[in-house]
């Protein structure tokens, strides 16, 4: 890697007048059109853009890309994020010009194929989730949660049941759950976990009354433990007149094995970028489709894609007009400008169709086996607070030997030296030194064994030469950023950096 080209911003590589292009002179007489523009919107000087030759730009971004870490680079056991491999076939489908070139407001008759793809994914997700209908519009998991809670709120309001303002959230929940509830204008009530990591039914019972709108649950929960009491919990919640919301963050181990709809959930979201292998975060936009059980379809947001064999006059609809974009008057309203992140939806559709139902049913058992293998191999060195068979992920409470002064943060940073992405740390908040590992089904036994070996090495270092772990990382391009200072005074623009 070239430090010079990576360590500088492209603005800092700029030299005045150095350009990578030569445009011919403007031969069109468009000065008249420009004269009609208001002076306030006309540029008076050249834009402040970096000026570099093409080769410098190519090297700059190429070098920078090698400092990015992704699933394509190495093992990425980031708990609760399901960092599975994103098959390249998905990329090929999504970037196909028949899809990539579409305008979002093209008339339905011109995009029947795209609408069929969208509709098909709606049907497949409904089948997988055990739901009646799905909207693919939400742009991410948290956006899906918000949409789902708005659906629930609208459902209660439609019945004149306006005093239901509370959402019950377990103390092991993802932080997005209470955040989404707050954004939806609802009040958050926390329910405690039992020592075995599952929701405490006795703690839940007194919380349920006619002011509760919904209970949000992740199953398996963030400790990777299946909520065995889910039928009882769903029954209690429904008895109280509230709805069950399923946070699909941990759907991966359930895929084709168990369905949230069958467990008693009324509304759910799915993180396509987790379970259905579409890129995460900076690697691509997310997608958080929301499904509802029968009877709640009318509360889903608009627009929707529908298939029609007959029109409103009961006349047959021609093949080329079968799929339509519908703006329903009864709907929640719009939560996105169009039909969501279509290219992400295509990747998920490609993943589902290429695995097929048999392939999908292997995902959960393999992800579960991989997680349990790592857990069992490492629990002599790392503290396993809840001794049980986990699902797709599990949580250690730091190193077993607490006398070394080596923390979970240190272990995570030491893993970077060995070319691994760190697991999720300090979440869930149930333990002080949480270290949450999710290997996914993508990884081979060799990869798992290498990782286990390194984790044992780090535990030994913690006992014998703790400073090596405490001062890690030693080999990364950036070693010890000041995260407190960064949180207090973040530098977010080039101008702020230049002013320093």
């Amino acid at each position: 890697m070239n430090k010079e080209l990576y360590g500088n911003l492209v603005f800092e590589l700029s030299h005045k007048g150095r350009k990578g292009y030569a445009l011919p002179a403007n031969g069109l007489d468009n000065a008249g059109a420009l004269n009609d523009m208001p002076a306030a919107v006309m540029r008076t000087g050249a834009p402040d853009l970096p000026e570099c030759d093409e080769l410098t730009v190519v090297r700059h971004y190429n070098n920078m890309s090698t400092n990015n870490f992704g699933v394509d680079t190495g093992f990425y056991p980031l708990g609760s994020c399901t960092m599975k491999y994103n098959p390249k076939l998905n990329e090929e489908i999504a970037s196909h010009r028949a899809f990539a070139g579409l305008h979002p407001f093209a008339p339905a008759s011109a995009v029947q194929g795209a609408l069929k793809a969208y509709w098909t994914l709606q049907q497949l997700l409904s089948e997988i989730g055990g739901m009646s209908e799905f909207t693919l519009n939400p742009f991410a998991g948290a956006h899906g949660e918000l949409t789902g809670l708005m659906v629930i709120r609208r459902y209660h309001e439609s019945r004149g049941d306006t005093k239901r303002r509370k959402v019950i959230v377990p103390d092991s929940a993802h932080g997005t759950n209470p955040a989404s509830a707050a954004v939806a204008g609802l009040e958050i009530v926390e329910v405690k976990s039992r020592p075995d990591g599952t929701v405490d039914v006795d703690d839940l019972r007194p919380l349920l009354d006619d002011t509760v709108a919904a209970m949000m649950m992740t199953n398996p929960n963030t400790l990777g433990i299946f909520e065995k009491n889910i039928p009882e919990i769903a029954h209690m919640v429904h008895e109280a007149g509230a709805l069950m919301y399923y946070d699909g963050a941990n759907l991966n181990p359930m895929l084709g094995v168990a369905r949230p709809g069958d467990m008693g959930f009324d509304v759910m979201h799915i993180n396509l970028h987790k379970t259905f292998s579409t890129p995460h975060g900076g690697g691509g936009p997310g997608s958080g489709p929301v499904g509802v059980r029968e009877g709640l379809e009318e509360f889903l947001p608009t627009p929707r894609v529908v298939r029609r064999h007959v029109n409103s006059d009961d006349q047959p609809v021609a093949e080329e007009n079968r799929f339509a974009i519908e703006y329903g008057p009864e709907a929640l309203g719009s939560i996105s400008a169009t039909l969501g992140n279509f290219a992400v939806q295509l990747r998920a559709l490609s993943y589902i169709l290429s695995l097929g139902s048999d392939g999908l049913m292997q995902v959960g058992p393999l992800a579960t086996l991989n997680a349990n293998y790592i857990k069992e191999m490492l629990k002599d060195d790392y503290l396993l607070p809840i001794e049980t068979v986990c699902k797709h992920e599990f949580v250690f409470d730091g190193l077993r030997d607490k006398s070394t002064g080596v923390t979970t943060l240190n272990v995570a940073k030491r893993l970077l030296d060995h070319g691994y992405h760190a697991p999720t740390i300090y979440f869930p908040l149930l333990f002080h030194e949480s270290l949450m590992i999710e290997p996914t089904e993508s990884e081979s036994l060799e990869t798992l064994d290498d990782f286990i070996g390194v984790m044992h090495d780090i535990a030994r270092e913690a006992r014998e030469t703790p400073d090596v772990v405490i001062n890690a990382p030693h080999n990364t391009p950036i070693t010890h950023p000041d995260d407190t200072e960064a949180a207090l005074h973040p530098i977010l623009t080039y101008d702020e950096l230049a002013a320093q």
């Binding site: 932080g175 607490k402 300090y426 979440f427 908040l429 002080h432 995260d483 407190t484 949180a487 207090l488």
Partner: protein, 123 residues
């Protein structure tokens, strides 16, 4: 006399009815470097167990809970400028000065020794 809650807030009584509320040294250490404190306002009233604010560190965000029924007399504005003061000395850098509404609730809290035992069991 200093009292502690199970959620790691302390109340340091300066007379029969007034005291300083903050988070314990144990909690500050567990949180790591504090980067933001969501402070209440003077004259706000809170019931025992009600959240009166929040604290954010590089590791986590946590709600702050009133150890007893109380009314806020003043808040420590210095924390808005430099929340790291909490890590430097959580007892000196209290979050708010309060008037205790029901002194009998103090009896439900832990004293220094009981709290030390409680923390030892936490880990």
């Amino acid at each position: 006399m200093i009292y502690y809650s199970k959620t790691h807030e302390y109340i340091n009584m300066i007379n029969d009815t007034e005291g300083y509320v903050g988070i314990s040294a144990f909690a500050a250490k567990q949180l790591g470097n504090v980067v933001y404190v969501d402070l209440p306002e003077a004259d706000d009233e809170f019931e025992q167990g009600e959240d009166f604010g929040a604290i954010e560190s590089v590791k986590a965000a946590s709600d702050l809970y009133a150890p007893v029924d109380l009314e806020v007399i003043e808040v420590n504005e210095a924390l808005a400028d430099d929340p790291r003061l909490i890590n430097a000395d959580p007892m000196k850098n209290f979050i708010m000065k309060v008037e205790v509404k029901d002194a009998s609730q103090l009896e439900e809290l832990m004293d220094e020794a009981a709290y030390a035992d409680f923390c030892a069991k936490e880990h």
